[in-house]
Amino acid sequence: MSEVGDKAAESRPKRTRIELLVREQDGHGFETREIPSAVAYLHSRPQRIPDADWEMARLPYAPQGVVTYALKNRRTEVIIQITETEKFLWGQMDGRASLQEIATSYLLHYGSFDFEIIPTLIVKLLRADLLTMRPVSRLRAVLARNRRNPAARAMEGTLHALERLTVTSRRSHQFFERVYRYGGFLLFSPWALAALAIMVVLGGRSAIAIWRDLGEVTHGLASHPLVAILLVKIVFWLTVVNHQIIHALACIHYRRRVREFGFTILHGFIPTFYADVTDIFMATRRARIVNAVAGPLFHLFLGFFCFWIAVRLEPGLIKGFLAASALLQLQSFVISLYPFWFLEMDGYHILVEMVGVPTLNHDSVRFVRESLWRRIRTATWLTRQEAICLAYFTLSLASLAGFVLLNVWLLTRAGKS
């Protein structure tokens, strides 16, 4: 073992040392010892969280032939992807074995050893709260550091109060099981796809017809502007519930658990409904993609359904409201499925499944911030994953810039007219 430890210590850069004085057993005399941090690191004994707080599932797809696993923290619902060798190391992290002993086990098991694999894994596990630390948002950390400032204290208190405005049901699983049993299963049958296709065709034709008589819609809305705006907003907000219900039903369809369903103030200022379907990450890739697509498809169906009804009504507020709602639903469909926003919405999860990089958002920001300029300076080729991260970051940045510019253009145009 010492050979492994020595080689490992040599391969790492020289680190800090502390000097300790150790007295003889009889109290006379002493010796001093320098302890490098790397040696202490080798002797540390990482301990994973209790077994009841995590679960692991083998991922059914293997990018580039590498077998990977999803490791989930049940308390924080954070899931990370680990390799076969990392799974082996995770199994050793029971709080009894030192890193040096774990390294020996690894060497005996695999016949070779790369010391960096352990620090890399530990950083990943710590970030997912699978070893010790608790996650905290940067904003909350900044506020906590500045509690002497009355404004920061007040903001922290407000955020805390808003976060407590969460209405949730942890027994929602049984409810959704019943909904699924009494008809929800139809949503995941070929009939549902056929109905959607028919509605897209009918709704598309209706949309064209409405476009030709756009004056009827705008006139209907303009005659009751305040009522129209409130109605469209409130109804849209309520349709978000359906989006979440469909995610929950998809979870049931694939025999996974709906952990929570409720209402919360997201990030302290966005009121929204939510369904905790993170258990779907332990299911198959197909299940995760279907789960992600199902919610947005509801907006697609509802959008064209609104157009289909609207075209049959006489001009007025209801027709205008339905047409505006239809546009809003189709917009939601596109926004939900568009992955390049730096936001982890449904489209992002589908993209992640396609490229096989589970922490793409985080990894891309980190790569650009920490490694990209070094790679450019040294003129080294990017790996496949780095190229994916760079592409995601660039497209997301361009999308955000485009979104901001579009809004500026619209506001400027509205101001001129």
Binding site: L21, G29, V123, M133
Partner: protein, 166 residues
């Protein structure tokens, strides 16, 4: 003090560097020689402190108890360096750390009363003495700050904590 006055040595001690020779000659008899064998403990943290020490020869290790028989080494002092002044002029009269000889060492000690006589009898020299003592105190403060930073860095490296990206 039986030996001949070692004015040259006192001049190498920062605290007495600017003190005039006649004052040093007058102070010399107040110094007491103390010999330590390698491994001997001069005093322990918490002991009452009544003396200032100058190192004539050898090496002294200053340490602070951590756990059981283990102590953290705070510093190593060699020839011409002084220590023990904190319990003479500080707010506590007890030793703040343990001092032991790493090698066979010869020290000169100056007790509280002798130092008080020196201060009251030679105010100009005492001002220079305290000016240097302030420099020593500042240096120790800087060293302590660096040690705290170093130990913190050590702890982060030893535990593998990635604070920046958490």
């Amino acid at each position: 003090m039986a030996n001949l006055p070692e004015i040259g040595f006192l001049r190498r001690v920062l605290l007495f560097r600017d003190v005039e020779e006649p004052v040093l000659l007058a102070l010399w008899p107040s110094f007491r020689e103390r010999r330590l064998k390698k491994g001997d403990v001069l005093f322990r943290a918490g002991d009452p402190g009544e003396e200032l020490f100058l190192i004539r020869d050898g090496s002294i290790v200053v340490s602070k108890p951590v756990t059981g028989r283990v102590e953290q080494v705070l510093s190593r002092l060699g020839e011409g360096e002084a220590f023990g002044e904190m319990s003479l002029f500080g707010d506590e009269r007890r030793r703040s750390a343990t001092c032991q000889a790493e090698l066979d060492s010869v020290l000169y000690s100056l007790d509280r009363d002798s130092l008080s006589r020196f201060v009251t009898g030679s105010p100009v020299a005492a001002a220079k003495f305290f000016q240097q003592m302030a420099q020593v105190a500042f240096k120790r403060l800087r060293d302590s700050s660096e040690l705290v930073a170093e130990v913190t860095r050590w702890g982060l490296e030893a535990t593998g904590l990635d604070i920046e990206h958490k």
